[in-house]
């Protein structure tokens, strides 16, 4: 791994020491995560600047409708939400205001974005403490979060569909 390794202070012990507890141990543990965090976010930034988001948009755009019932126009907001919570949310608001998506589609899309929010940045950033412990590669962890985000969006999708059908039937009965 390119993140390398800290040297040992004594045999089998690196600079955080051994047997620490409480606030001091928490702080020392946090110190060990800085190199990984800086390296990972540096790489994410380079990937973004090299057009990774645009490439991902091309890949995801055609499958958004069948997968989550949201229009392909949300493609850029969708891929932006991998690395930023705020950019995705602001773009979603704009898309709904420009009538590029319906109110229900916005609710489904927000359900997707809300869980885990910026999944790539958060897994490397806020999840940094668990990266060295995890028995699964980080790509699989991101994959799992992505799958449950899509499942969550579909729960909302089908709930809204069911709710609309129920209301239509009830409305019909009242009117009839």
């Amino acid at each position: 791994m390119l993140t390398g390794q800290f040297g040992q202070v004594a045999k089998g012990v690196f600079f955080t020491g051994k047997g620490g507890v409480g606030a001091r141990e928490g702080f020392m543990f946090a110190l060990t995560l800085f190199p990984t965090l800086m390296f990972a976010l540096g790489c994410i930034n380079v990937a973004e600047s090299m057009g990774a988001l645009r490439a991902a948009e091309k890949l995801f755009r055609p499958i958004l409708k069948p997968f989550m019932g949201i229009p392909g126009a949300t493609g850029l907001a969708f891929v932006s939400s991998f690395t930023s919570s705020d950019v995705g949310a602001v773009m979603t608001k704009g898309l709904a205001e420009e009538k590029m998506m319906t109110d229900d589609e916005r609710t489904i899309f927000v359900a997707y974005q809300y869980a885990g929010s910026a999944v790539v940045t958060n897994t490397f950033g806020t999840g940094a403490a668990l990266l060295p412990i995890s028995v699964l590669p980080v790509g699989i962890i991101i994959g799992i979060i992505f799958i449950v985000k899509v499942i969550g969006a579909n729960i909302v999708r089908f709930y809204l569909k069911w709710h609309a059908t129920k209301n239509r039937n009830q409305g019909g009965a009242v009117n009839g």
């Binding site: 946090a30 800086m38 390296f39 979060i145 909302v156």
Partner: protein
């Protein structure tokens, strides 16, 4: 002659080089570490130490043990999920601390990993995502439940996937 050079310099300012991009990202990583991870780590390690010293950890662990067993986790793991509710980083740090103390195994810490990220910072992100995107108020309650449901599914899913590794 001077003008094209100035325009060229402007263009350079607009499009930073790969090295500059990497450095900017690494700087962002440093700030995330200093502003989010380190405070969350101190909080989580202190919280768990407090629960251990007072003996509350054993009580909490026994009380919620049966619920957490559904996900293949000991009762004490609930501390990580509660911490995650407030901040993703605190949840992950709490799970790391539980692992460091030998309360949970590496497999169990891995089960908690996607769950802490998925349902973490529930209120903070509600404002940043649900409110910012101006989602229909009628569905706010439903949207608030979704990350928690997703987190539960992620724990089952991770538990299954770990068997293949």
């Amino acid at each position: 002659m001077a003008e094209p050079t100035a325009a060229g310099m402007d263009l350079q300012k607009v499009k930073p080089s790969i090295v500059e991009e990497f450095v900017a990202g690494a700087k962002k990583g440093f700030y995330i570490g200093a502003e989010m991870i380190a405070p969350a780590m101190v909080l989580a390690f202190v919280l768990i130490e407090f629960l251990n010293i007072t003996g509350l950890m054993t009580i909490v662990g026994t009380a919620v043990g049966p619920v957490m067993a559904v996900f293949g986790l000991p009762g004490e793991a609930i501390v990580a999920l509660v911490a995650a509710f407030f901040a993703k980083a605190a949840g992950c740090a709490a799970a790391a601390s539980l692992y460091a103390q030998g309360t949970i195994t590496a497999q169990q810490a891995t089960i908690l990993f996607p769950a802490c990220v998925t349902m973490g910072t529930l209120i903070g992100h509600f404002v940043r995502i649900v409110i910012t995107s101006n989602a229909n108020k009628k569905w706010h309650g439903l949207l608030l439940c979704i990350p928690v449901i997703d987190a539960a599914i992620s724990m089952w899913l991770t538990r299954i996937i770990i068997h293949f590794f």
